[in-house]
C-alpha cells in the first residue's frame, strides 16, 4: 500500500491517549500519551508534551518529553534538553543533553540490549493491564474454571496413585508425622 512512501510515521497527537500495547515496524512520534507497552523495530520519538509511561523496546529512542519506564534500545537512546526520564536504560549508545533530567540505571555496550531482552522475555509472563476487548465475555467464559474441583470425598484415595511421595507428605504432614517420616 505505502510502497512509494518508504517509511511511514505514526503520530499520536497531543490530544490522544493510548492505554495498552503498541507494536510496529515504523517510526512512532508521541505528542500525546501512551500507557502500557511499546515495541518497535524503528525509532520512538517522544516530543515535548508527550508522555510515555511504558516498558519500551525499540531501536532508537529520542526523548524531549516525559518517559517513565524501563527502556531497552537496540541502537541508541538520546535524551534531549527538555527530556524527563525515569527508568532503567539499556542501549549500546546513550546520550544526554544538558538540561535533561534522568533518574535510573544505565547499561551501555553492545550485547547489553540483547541480554536485557532475553531477561525480559523470560519473565514477561505478566502482561500490562489489558484494556477491555471485544471478545471479553468469550474470554471470561474461557478463563472460568472448566471443571470445578471434584468434591473431596472418600473416593479420592482410590483415584490417587498408590506411590508414596515422601517429600510432599513431609510438606503437608504435621510436625510429629514429619519426625516419623524422617526417622524412616
Amino acid at each position: 500500500m505505502a510502497d512509494k512512501d518508504v517509511r511511514e510515521t505514526t503520530v499520536i497527537g497531543a490530544e490522544t491517549r493510548i492505554s495498552g500495547e503498541v507494536r510496529g515496524d515504523e517510526d512512532l512520534v508521541v505528542r500525546g500519551r501512551i500507557d502500557g507497552r511499546v515495541q518497535l523495530t524503528e525509532t520512538l520519538t517522544v516530543e515535548a508534551g508527550g508522555v510515555v509511561q511504558a516498558d519500551i523496546e525499540v531501536k532508537n529512542l529520542v526523548v524531549s518529553g516525559v518517559v517513565v519506564g524501563n527502556v531497552v534500545a537496540s541502537a541508541s537512546v538520546k535524551l534531549l534538553a527538555k527530556a524527563r526520564v525515569i527508568g532503567d536504560v539499556t542501549a549500546p549508545r546513550f546520550t544526554m543533553e544538558e538540561g535533561a533530567a534522568y533518574k535510573g540505571r544505565v547499561e551501555m555496550g553492545e550485547g547489553e540490549a540483547a541480554r536485557a531482552l532475553e531477561k525480559r522475555a523470560s519473565r514477561s509472563v505478566e502482561t500490562p493491564r489489558q484494556a477491555p476487548r471485544l471478545a471479553a465475555p468469550a474470554r471470561a467464559a474461557a478463563a472460568a474454571p472448566r471443571h470445578a474441583a471434584p468434591p473431596r470425598v472418600a473416593a479420592a484415595p482410590v483415584a490417587r496413585p498408590a506411590l508414596p511421595r515422601p517429600e510432599t507428605a513431609a510438606g503437608v504432614a504435621p510436625a510429629w508425622a514429619k519426625k516419623k517420616l524422617r526417622r524412616r
Partner: protein, 112 residues
Amino acid sequence: MAKDKDRPMGNTVIGSSIVIDGEITGEEPLTILGTVKGKIVVAQNLTVEPGATVEANVEAQSLTVSGRVTGNVTVRERVELRSDAKMVGDVKSPRVVIADGASFKGNVDMDV
C-alpha cells in the same frame, strides 16, 4: 517532523505496520492505517483507511471507513462506508452512507 506535514489526514495517525492492543481516546481526528484492537473513543472524525483493521467498539463524532471494521459503532454525526469498506457490527448514527461496493453486516440504528 517533515515527514508528516504533507499528510492530509488528522493529527493522530496509526501507520500501517502498527498494532495497538488496548484503548485509544482522543480529542482530535484519528486516522488508522494499521491495526487497532480494543476500544476507540474520539471526539472528532475517525478514518479507517484501506488496508487498516479495526476490531474495536468505536465512539466518534463521525466515521469514515475504507478498511475493515469489526465492532459496534456509536457516532454522533455521520458514518460513511466507502466502496472498499468491510464492516461487521451494529451502527448507531443519525446519518449513514453506504457506498456501492461496501460490505456490511449488522444493525443500523438511525433513531427513527
